[in-house]
Homo-oligomer: 206 residues x 2
Amino acid sequence: MTETWDELPKPQPLLIVLSGPSGVGKDTVLSRMKQRMLDFHFVVTATTRAARPGEVHGRDYFFISNDAFAEMINQNELFEWARVYSDFKGIPKQQVRDALATGRDVVMRLDVQGAATVKQLCPDALTIFIAPASEAELVDRLRERKTETPEGLQLRIATARQELARMKEFDYFVINRDEALEEAVDTILAIIAAEHSRVQPRRVQL
Amino acid sequence: MTETWDELPKPQPLLIVLSGPSGVGKDTVLSRMKQRMLDFHFVVTATTRAARPGEVHGRDYFFISNDAFAEMINQNELFEWARVYSDFKGIPKQQVRDALATGRDVVMRLDVQGAATVKQLCPDALTIFIAPASEAELVDRLRERKTETPEGLQLRIATARQELARMKEFDYFVINRDEALEEAVDTILAIIAAEHSRVQPRRVQL
């Protein structure tokens, strides 16, 4: 055997999109993931609003000028962007490219519509839908927030229901049951490990 | 919200094929899997040879007559079969159907050629290739067996090399490094967990 076997696929970093309906617990899942998964880059959003006391540029947000933001739009350098009151926010592609270039997986947390946009731009993104165990459980969680008028709550429930119906556009689903957060995070980490074991890996192109 | 959300995919049992080159440690991986993964069915091979002392029908093998074996061939009821000296052995499809019908995952351990045959018959089988960390590590393991003539060893090395080249036909690869068995089993269990989280599950048809 003089030739060397060189068939192991080269490791490819993943672009991981975590999403799910309003109220399902995306932020809780993500903060636990950050504790357990040591080496990934979590995307930072760019915003045109001013930094608030304690906020750090590059950690909480990239604080950029309106001109710089407009330039990124023109160059097609944002995954998606939105106007929030008089400010703009969006996810710059360059930081994702830079992080992937270091070989690290990149994680984004997005609402269902944003996840669909990223998947369209980048079909090799790995999309995970965090789902409730049942619709009733999700409605209960939305009710428990108690921060809304009855009309506001009804609107959020209707939105969550529309979002649930879009699960089929995702690659994987992970159920975030009440009081079983660790199980949900276990499954997400298993999905990531499995994806790194694919013989034909995803190749993210941005 | 009067309608009930009913979008969670129905759980589908998997047909899992574990394979890899001669000498890579398939049996060691499998026996550790049996200890850690509680609820799966490991396929039992049918054979026309007589039971040896201590062998149990249905556990070690299905001991069947030549006529029964010939009938299974005629009915296309074997995944694959082979003549071993004057006896025949093969994997009956019916036990796989029966086990899947109970909702349990089914695991088969096959050589690389057998795995390719099953994948052809059943494209939705989940195929995992157990790989060495390097060709050199595999050759060392084959040498350490010391049960063969130099010519026999060369033949086994040449075969293993051909088998390595077929990794690309598999869905996943898992590296079984020397002294890192637990890591290999962790990855296999992660792959199985991830596959059970697919929004579009594999649907095994036999």
